[in-house]
Structure formats: structure tokens, C-alpha cells
Amino acid sequence: MSVPSVFQERRRLPMRRRPLPLLAVGAAHLIGRLSPLRIRQILTACSLGGRPATYAEAARARADVVAVSVRCAGQGCLPRSIATALLCRARGTWPTWRTGMRTVPMVAHAWVEAEGRPVDDLPLTPGIPPLITVAPRARS
């Protein structure tokens, strides 16, 4: 396994662009404390109607989240991935949200994917089988 050895570089966001990411981060921290079942229910409900996010859109949302939250920039993969997905949704899209774990060595991780690959999350993610996936779905 490879592990990130450096705190992620954080872009600075202009003041006027901070409220939405901050809101997403706040919500993500609350949602992240719930049970996996509740998290999945809430995210599934949120995902409804968002068109699939492109890689660029998801990467931008992730960068915005990391820019406003030190916690999300560090080891907080759960709030980070939830906030990224929520921020995407606020902008009309939805990435694929995933969480999974591997046992040898024991790692639990949450991340988002777009265009079929993890968004800015290499190299930790490969090799972690997903347990919960919330993919974009169109409103029926």
C-alpha cells in the first residue's frame, strides 16, 4: 500500500465562493456521524436527479471542500467524500460515492469516483473493495 505522506496542498478560495463548500462540509460532518445505513439512505436521496458528474466537476468540488476544511484535507475521508458529493449535488451533478475496506492491512476508506475512476485519491483507493456505492441515478 502507499500512503500520502504530506498534507494536501490547499487552494485558497475567495470569500464569496466559500459559503456553499462550508455548508456542504458542515452537513457532511453531521451526516458522517450517523450509521452506515442512514448515511446510505441520505446520500441515495440526495443523489436523485443529479446528472453524473464529470471528473473535472468532481475534482473541483473536492478541491473546494479541502480548501475550506482542514479536517477534510487531512485524514477525514468520510466527511470529505460526503461533502464533495453534496457540493456536486448543489451544482446539479452527482459523482459515485463509495466506501469500502480491506482487511490486510486493515484500511477503511471513503471516496468519490467520476468517469469510472477515483477522484484525486490515488494511490490509496485501488485494492479497497467497495462496500457501499451510491451512484448517480436519473429521476424516473
Binding site: M1, S2, V3, P4, S5, V6, F7, E9, V70, R71, A73, G74, Q75, G76, T103, V104, P105, M106, L122, P123, L124, T125, P126, G127, I128
Partner: protein, 618 residues
């Protein structure tokens, strides 16, 4: 068999210049193949070493010897020795361009003997036949004086690698002591000895740019000493920054370079792709990629892994694959192997540096602290409390001895003490083991001095000592397999250069090894210096635990540690053979297995103390 001795696989002992030492010489000389004499004609150095491993100079009635890697020839060594003060001239030799070597001097009945400041080359001493004898191996002395093992120190080794200074350097035998790194053993004509400090760690006060220049120079010298002899040498090329730097420096020298990349099974390890990118820049280098599954799995031969090493070492797990790699590279013609070990220890301080920086540069410290809190998931209040803590080293040691229970990973405890994580014992340690360790800690706390006045620098020096303790044993393992391993990052000049740089510039949560990146700007292509991840190999360890279950079950069937009353055998077996507790560091288990295998090799019925003998022989 002196001719076939690989450098690093032998030993030497230093004998005082008096008639009383003859009895000691007779004991040690039985196993020796080489002898160097004092001016008086009495034996000075006895042992087994490779032809070119020792350089001895004679200046008047003085004798000076360099054992190990050094650029010095006999004549150049002689030129550096002052005839009236041979012992004092070791100071000049020790601060000159040395690789890694023991320095020894004898004049008018007085001796001075020392290893390196890093601790990679060590000396031990014991009183044998009435005189103090020094040796680079504790087990040789233990055999010579027929020493018994001290169970309290065995218990202490269960803490590895978190054994607090200065307890970690104590040999496990009664009557054998270590000459602390950075001090010299001074022996008089009657065969009595005392130690004197010759090395002082630099104050961390240089700005990064200046320090990087010094580091670049020291590291280039360190590698150049090793390539100077030409021929073929090999180096790790893991894909990490440390070994990559060594390869680029080594490729400049006259030796042909063989770069070795081991590839693991873990798909999430991106080391190989980085190694290939580096190799693409190294046109004259032979890049060997060796899949780890071609090597013996970790823990192979675990039942005999403690043999031939003078203290338990966590390399027990990798002993077989290391030896096999060494044999293969030696077979390809390599005469020595470069390892990037040591870089982690010297290039950045660990979190306690924040405690130090907070007092000198509070604003910088707060920025770093905020990132560290998030990256390490420390809780805020305990962190603030830890920052405010001003206890002295001895006081801290005594206080932490109260609670030796295991620290679980990610429990939110800030690591800002004198030692990154507080002293702790594994969950399978018995109450007796805990009592023994607590007593040792309390005894030590009364007079313990930290390695440096601040927590930040103390932690760095302590982790260097811990690192060299392991490297010293691994060198022996690979040397015995025919290929000595070298650690340029542990050369004294390199350590000094790195440690002179300000803590908060050497270590920042926002950049990966900024000191090395800056120092290697001209030697290594920028694209390779941009790496921000690090390979991690716990998967290999854990699959080794599964592959070698039968051996491990055999090892733990009647553990000697349980016979000594130091561990709960059932708890240890459960941890080792079932799924390993996920929040416990794998090193915790490794340390215990290392102690157990070492005891097997050294505490057999013959060499055990009476108290242990009856149980161990049962």
C-alpha cells in the same frame, strides 16, 4: 577462515596494554584469526575481520586503527596522527571525511576506543580476567565472561521500538555494558576504563537552504567513499525519495551500479512505477526488478532467526528475504549494497518538534499544529494540555511508567511527549513484566538526561539510535550472506548536516522531506522529487504471518517468554495466529517475536542463568 570473511560479518576485541590482559587475550584469542599488537608487543586487537576492513598506522610508540569503511590508507592515517597525542588525534579523525568506522588508539599503555556517533558502529565492554575489554559485539563478550541473561531487560525489549533512552542500548546480559554512541572508552594501563563524550549533536539552527547545501555535500561524499573502489555495487531503488537519491549519487561514481526494486503484491503500492521512472533517467544502471514472491516469505526460518545477532531485533521477520537478496546481488558481482534506511530518521523530526517549535516560533507552530491535528486526528483539548506540559525528561519518564498499557492507533492522543508515543507494553505482557519494566524506568528516571535539551531534537536523536540498532543487525545478516549493507544516511557527517537544520524547516506537514528535496535539486530530476506518497509494506508482513503459521505456532507452543513469566502465552498466540488486532501496530508483535526467537538462540540450558535454566531446559 580469515580470507573468506565478508566485511561486517566478523568481530574484534580491544585488549588493554598490561600483563593482566594476557588471560583475557587467551580466552578471546581462541576464536580469533587476526591479531594486532600494542607497541609493547602485547595483543591489542584480536578477532576476525576481512583483509581490507582494518587500517593500522604506527607512529612512534603509538598505534591507531580504523576498522570499517574509511577513505584512509595507512600512510594517510599515519599523517593524521600526532605523535605526542595519538589518543587525542582520534577527535580529528572522527570529524574528518570518514564513512563509518571504529576508531582505536593505543599509546603508552592508555587506550581510546570508539564507535560512531550515530550508533551504527557500537562498542560494548565487560570485565574479563580482571581487565576491561571492549568488543564490537555484545555476544562475544557474553560468551567470554559466561554472562547470564537479565530477565528484566528481556521484559524491556517487549517495548521495542519504544524503549526509552537510555535503556534501549543496554545489552541483555549481566556484566556486559554498552559504550553509549558518541562516547569513547578510555582504558588505563591497569585495565580500568571510563567513558568520555566526544560527540555533541549540533544545535538545530541552520536555515534550510544552507543546511541543504551541507547535506548535499555530505551525502555525495558518503556515497563517493563507497563507489570509489570501482567494480560493481548495488543499491535499493524502492521508488522512494531516499533510495532514489542514493542511486543518482552512486551513478556518478566509478563503480557500475545495480539498482534493485522489490515489488510487492499490494496493488495500492505505487513504488514500482516511481522506480521505473527513476531508472529511465539512469542510463548506465542495471535495473533489476525482483518480485517479492520469488523471495522467501516474511518469517521464514523464524525458529532460528535469533541466532548470530547480539540483541533481539525486529528484522527477524525479514531476515530470510534480506539474506536471499544479499546472496543474489553478491552473485551478480556486487561488493556492497546501499540502503536508504536512516533518511526517515534524520530528515524530519516527528511530532514532538511541535512542542519545541511552539516555544520558539508560536505562529509557525500553530499553522503546523492545525494540519497535524487533522492529519493525525488528535483531540484538541489533550493536545493543548500536552503543549503546555513542561516536565523534565526524568520526571516525564517516571510519570509515564505509571501507565504502560498499549496505546491504540488513532485514539486521538497527541504525540508531543519526550518520546513520540509514551512507553508501553503489548497487551500480552504479564503483570510481572510490567513491574520489572516500571522498576527499570523509575531507576533510570532519577538520573536520566535527554539526548538534547529540547523534545524535538531529543526525539530525532532517539529515533536515530533506534534505527541504527536495527540496521546494525541487518548489516550482519546480509554480510553473513556475502554482501555488506551500507547506510549512507547514517554516516556521522550526514547525520550532523541534517540535524543542524531548524526543526520547523526540516519538518512540515505541507512538504515531503523538504531538506532532501532541496539538497538533491541538482542530482535528481525534478519530476522524481515531486513524489508525495510513500510505499508501505504491512500487507507483506501480514501475509507472512499467515504463510508461516505452522512455524509461528511451533515457536509459540511453549514460549520461553511465558516460561520466564513475562507474557501470557494464550494472549500472545491469539494475537499472532488469529486476525491481528487492527488498532495495534504490527511492530508490537514483531518485537515480541524477536525477543522470543532471540531467547531461543541464546538462553538455551547451557547459557541460561540458574533461575531460568531449570525452566528453560524443561
Amino acid at each position: 577462515m580469515p580470507e573468506s570473511t565478508t566485511p561486517g560479518s566478523g568481530w574484534f576485541a580491544v585488549l588493554p596494554d598490561c600483563d593482566a590482559a594476557r588471560a583475557a587475550a587467551a580466552v578471546l584469542g581462541a576464536e580469533a584469526t587476526r591479531i594486532v599488537e600494542h607497541a609493547s608487543g602485547r595483543p591489542w586487537l584480536v578477532g576476525r575481520w576481512a583483509e581490507d576492513e582494518a587500517v593500522v598506522a604506527t607512529v612512534g610508540d603509538a598505534r591507531v586503527a580504523v576498522v570499517g569503511l574509511s577513505p584512509l590508507t595507512e600512510s594517510r592515517l599515519a599523517a593524521l596522527v600526532r605523535e605526542d597525542d595519538a589518543l587525542g588525534s582520534l577527535d580529528r579523525l572522527a570529524t574528518g571525511p570518514v564513512g563509518g568506522c571504529h576508531l582505536l588508539a593505543s599509546q603508552s599503555g592508555r587506550l581510546r576506543s570508539q564507535g560512531t556517533a550515530s550508533g551504527l558502529r557500537q562498542l560494548f565492554s565487560a570485565r574479563l580476567a580482571g581487565v576491561v575489554v571492549a568488543c564490537d559485539r555484545a555476544d562475544v563478550l557474553a560468551t567470554a565472561v559466561d554472562a547470564g541473561i537479565d530477565e528484566r531487560l528481556v521484559a524491556l525489549r517487549l517495548m521495542d521500538p519504544l524503549i526509552p533512552h537510555p535503556l534501549a542500548e543496554r545489552p541483555l546480559w549481566r556484566g556486559v555494558s554498552a559504550v553509549p554512541a558518541g562516547t569513547a572508552l578510555l582504558t588505563d594501563a591497569a585495565g580500568n576504563a571510563r567513558t568520555r563524550r566526544w560527540w555533541q549533536a549540533p544545535e538545530p539552527e541552520l536555515p534550510l537552504a544552507e543546511g541543504a547545501e551541507r547535506l548535499a555535500e555530505a551525502l555525495a561524499d558518503a556515497v563517493a567513499v563507497r563507489t570509489a573502489g570501482g567494480g560493481v555495487i548495488s543499491s535499493d531503488l524502492s521508488g522512494g525519495l531516499d533510495s532514489t537519491s542514493l542511486c543518482f549519487l552512486a551513478a556518478r561514481g566509478p563503480a557500475r551500479l545495480l539498482a534493485l526494486t522489490l515489488t510487492g503484491a499490494d496493488p495500492a503500492n505505487d513504488d514500482l512505477s516511481w522506480a521505473r521512472r527513476a531508472a529511465a533517467h539512469l542510463s548506465d544502471t542495471d535495473h533489476q526488478v525482483l518480485p517479492m514472491d520469488e523471495l522467501p516469505p516474511h518469517y521464514t526460518g523464524v525458529l532460528r532467526a535469533g541466532e548470530g545477532v547480539d540483541e533481539p531485533f525486529t528484522g527477524v521477520r525479514v531476515r530470510a528475504p534480506f539474506a536471499e537478496t544479499a546472496r543474489r546481488l553478491a552473485g551478480m558481482g556486487s561488493r556492497l549494497h546501499l540502503s536508504g534506511e536512516g533518511a526517515d530518521q534524520i530528515l524530519s523530526a516527528r511530532p514532538p518538534y511541535l512542542h519545541t517549535t511552539f516555544r520558539t516560533r508560536p505562529r509557525t507552530a500553530l499553522t503546523h499544529l492545525r494540519a497535524t491535528l487533522s492529519a493525525q486526528r488528535w483531540h484538541l483539548l489533550p493536545t493543548l494540555r500536552a503543549l503546555a506540559d513542561r516536565r523534565s525528561y526524568g520526571r516525564w519518564l517516571a510519570d509515564t511508567a505509571r501507565d504502560l498499557s498499549p496505546v491504540l492507533a488513532l485514539d486521538g492522543t497527541p504525540a508531543l511527549g519526550w518520546q513520540m508515543l509514551r512507553p508501553q507494553l503489548p497487551p500480552w505482557a504479564s503483570p510481572d513484566a510490567a513491574a520489572a519494566v516500571r522498576e527499570l524506568l523509575w531507576q533510570t528516571a532519577l538520573e536520566a538526561e535527554p539526548l538534547a535539551p529540547t523534545r524535538g531534537q531529543h526525539e530525532v536523536l532517539w529515533s536515530v539510535r533506534n534505527g541504527t540498532r536495527l540496521a546494525r543487525q541487518l548489516t550482519r545478516v546480509t554480510s553473513e550472506a556475502g554482501l555488506p549493507t551500507h547506510y549512507p544516511f547514517y554516516d556521522d557527517r550526514v547525520v550532523e548536516a541534517a540535524l543542524a537544520v531548524r526543526l520547523h524547516e526540516r519538518t512540515t506537514p505541507f512538504a515531503y522531506k523538504p531538506l532532501l528535496v532541496r539538497a538533491m535539486r541538482e542530482a535528481v530530476p525534478a519530476e522524481l522529487l515531486a513524489r508525495r506518497t510513500k510505499g508501505e509494506y504491512s500487507a507483506e508482513m501480514q501475509s507472512g504471518l499467515r504463510t508461516r503459521r505452522a512455524d509461528l505456532a511451533d515457536l509459540l507452543d511453549r514460549p520461553l517468554l511465558a516460561t520466564l513469566g513475562l507474557v501470557d502465552a494464550d494472549a500472545l498466540r491469539r494475537a499472532c495466529l488469529s486476525m491481528f488486532p487492527p488498532r495495534l501496530s504490527p511492530v508490537t508483535l514483531e518485537a515480541t517475536l524477536a525477543v522470543e526467537t532471540w531467547l531461543r538462540a541464546h538462553a538455551g540450558p547451557a547459557s541460561a542463568t540458574p533461575a531460568m535454566g531449570s525452566e528453560a531446559a524443561a
